[in-house]
Symmetry: C3
Subunit: 359 residues, 3 copies
């Protein structure tokens, strides 16, 4: 069961959503799920014609469908909705509510340094540590075991999930959400190698995170060697992504899971980096570019580029190359065949030439 929020009936969900009920309104519904992993007592969304193939196998106790759905294909109880997505979202919200709002104040089990500044409307959870000189803005929530370092500044209405670290002097804007395990402001990876020994280059800068940024879990964003690493306003970063020192992202970028961006690379605005892509350092990715999954980008990209592959190239050519790569065994066979044909042709031509000379 996907929820502790208790069981309801299908009729009640019809009321909640304004959908038309077909079948037994007393059907007990205890949660929502996808059609393929629903269990008895759960309601699933039939999201469109292409999901009808899953109808036979679903164990859902009821379905939300659209008004164009051919109700004769199933005997399951149905909620027939004008906008099935919205109806389902309302039901999901019934069973999976937003997290309870945190209460303002500093938990007695938190440690806040005497000269840190915590807005009275902010919440600092159990086990949190806020160091000297740090500033926590209004209505911001530090969930348990979060860490905010010396002289760091966290804006208004931010959420730092459990075990987040925002290190010394780093700056977060307003409405920033950092999921658990994210580290903002670890040292960049910089060494001078002298006689084979790697000597640390001081990483003196900070990370500056714009308003409305969200990062996933276990993301790493390194502080700049000097100046700042910048995450632009509205940019969203997925789990386990790596943002190196002195990188700057534009506004409203999407950086998907496990992407790595090397040092001093800059992204324009509305750039999309798909999962597991990697960008070398010191390049610029133009506004609105899209880098495909697992791509390796070795140089600058013009605005609006769409690239794939490692090294990345225009996606249309890469797709052709991908197809031909998988046909290499055929190509090799054909090449061998051609070589044979040519050899035999040569023999035949030599023969003809002999004959011709004989003439």
């Amino acid at each position: 069961m996907a929820s502790h929020a208790g069981t309801t009936t299908l009729a009640q969900l019809a009321d909640l959503t304004g959908a038309t009920l077909r079948g037994d309104g007393e059907t007990a519904i205890a949660g929502v799920a996808g059609m393929r992993n629903a269990r008895e007592g759960e309601i699933a969304l039939l999201g469109g014609a292409r999901y009808i193939k899953h109808l036979a196998a679903t164990r859902a106790s009821a379905l939300v469908v659209g008004q164009d759905f051919d109700t004769s294909v199933t005997e399951l109880p149905l909620l027939i909705a004008e906008t099935p997505d919205a109806a389902f979202e309302a039901i999901a919200a019934r069973f999976g509510p937003e997290p309870a709002p945190v209460e303002p104040g500093i938990h007695p089990r938190a440690f806040v340094a005497p000269d840190a500044t915590v807005d009275p409307t902010a919440s600092v959870g159990a086990g949190c540590v806020v160091e000297a000189g740090a500033v926590i803005g209004p209505r911001t929530a530090l969930l348990p075991l979060a860490f905010v370092g010396r002289d760091a500044r966290v804006g208004a209405e931010c959420v730092l999930h459990p075990q987040v670290a925002v290190l010394e002097r780093c700056v977060l804007g307003d409405r920033v959400v950092l999921h658990s395990g994210t580290v903002v402001g670890a040292d960049g990876f910089g060494y001078d190698t002298v006689d084979g020994v790697h000597q640390k280059v001081p990483q003196r800068g900070i990370v500056e995170v714009g308003d409305d940024v969200e990062t996933g879990a276990n993301v790493t964003i390194d502080r700049a060697r000097f100046g700042r690493t910048v995450i632009g306003r509205g940019t969203k970063i997925d789990n386990l992504a790596q943002i190196a020192h002195n990188v700057s992202t534009g506004e409203h970028c999407l950086i998907v899971a496990q992407v790595g961006v090397a040092g001093s690379t800059s992204l324009g605005h509305h750039v999309v980096l798909a999962a597991q892509a990697g960008l070398v350092g010191h390049i610029h990715i133009g506004d609105g570019s899209i880098v495909g999954a697992k791509a390796g980008v070795p140089g600058d990209l013009e605005p609006g580029s769409i690239v794939l592959g490692a090294p990345a190239q225009d996606i249309r050519n890469e797709r052709r190359c991908m197809v031909l790569y998988q046909r290499l065994p055929d190509m090799a066979r054909q090449a061998k065949q051609l070589a044979k044909t040519i050899e035999s042709l040569e023999e035949r031509v030599r023969h003809l030439e002999g004959a011709s000379e004989d003439d």
Copy 2:
């Protein structure tokens, strides 16, 4: 030295294992190691004929060998065992014991919300935080600084290593082991983009982790958009893997380090995903399939598939392609040569045709 468990003698280890001693039984042994990184005072396993090449360079003070080992090739003291693996495992256990069992009870430096339920046989370590409504099952150990969120449920005999986070409403079965830094239940990466601004899609579901699941360190498993993300019973996940929202894995899967599985993808049972592989979202991987290291899987896989490459294809064809890829310079040279040969042939044929017309 690999252990604090003190030094023993080779003769005592012969007693411990029932192996036959050759050489000085008074040889002091302080730990176990591999042949290649053993130090003086350590005993190593000669795991089979192919490791004999490391004999000359090893600094181990003694070896465990099988009964078929030609003892004339080394002068090192030996333990000759019927089952060398088992003998070595017993010695390793002597020097590297299982972690001491944790003591039941709530550490005075832990914080457990008043209405959380902790089984009296469970252990909650220093610095842990257990939120309101959470349930911790019998004989489960929360090691220091672990976090269990509001209304989350942790089954019996689980181990949450230091700094694990199990977030609100998520559910763990019995005997689940989560290593340090693993985050269960961060929000999935879901946004609707309206006028270029990414608006968060509420992630209302949970993560449900089956019995006997183990995850490595710094793994991320996101909560579902609605319903649940599911990790099937007996599945094992290695470090730094990413499991997106609404993914479901079957039972007894193996997901190796740094793998990424995108949203709503489902795995059958006994699926193996090798290191650094990536799977796109909304696909199904059939039972028993094996996805090779670094593979990128763009679509459904039939049960029993074995694939490699990016995009992934049948491993046999991919292996041929890999070989031919590395021969592309040769192929290009040969193609150039062929083109030349053909050009010359054309010339000769043209000449013959001229001659023929002359006839």
Copy 3:
């Protein structure tokens, strides 16, 4: 603004660095930044001729330049320095000081087990947990919320950043720096599969980290199955890298972000693994080898190898292959053309042969 360290004037920075001032010495400077992301009030380094293209767009209020800089190309106030890098570093240090030294002693909000040994010159921050039998060396700093497990040993002058975990019995040398979220000593990924069920192989060994090692954030280094996983002296590891059980690295290696090294693989000294590379298990990488970004290394490498690609091969051949891969569509077109030419040649030869027979 990249700093809380207050504003100064350009003339004061000229004094600080011994550089020659050109322009308004009263220019207020509040921080340092790169030319491309500098803001008003910040000073940037013009690092060489290739950055002159960014001059027009920079919003920096002043620049540090070398003595060979053609000062006529900009009207910005300048600091003209003999060694611009050093001058800029001095200015960066003015605005981004080293973290304040931590104070010796155990924070009242830390928990140190009664029989752990903490050197009186060491610092244990708020929220830290140090377990029984652990040893913390002189002048070492455990920053807040760090964890050191039972019988672990941390040497002298180490820094464990917030939320680091060093697990039971693991050993760190001197001057080791571990950034936030790094996990040293989680169990290796080892299972025996019996009747389709994965049974855990005990991971009894430890991790041993040499002197002067630094790891980035959210790195994972697993304990050995037996014996030890070894990180050699002076080796530096970037964020989110994965080091599996029984791996050993030589001294002074560089392991860049998101690299994965599978079990029992050994690296020589001065090996470089670039970002997102992956190494299979049980191989040896010779001294001084360089593995390119995203490479997949399937077997041993001789000392001094430089490889790229997946599977990795000598970088020169891989680069040729990469170029030819992107030309596959051309090659396929040419092959088709050649085939046509040959077909037509065959026809013509057949015709000639007919004519010849006719003779």
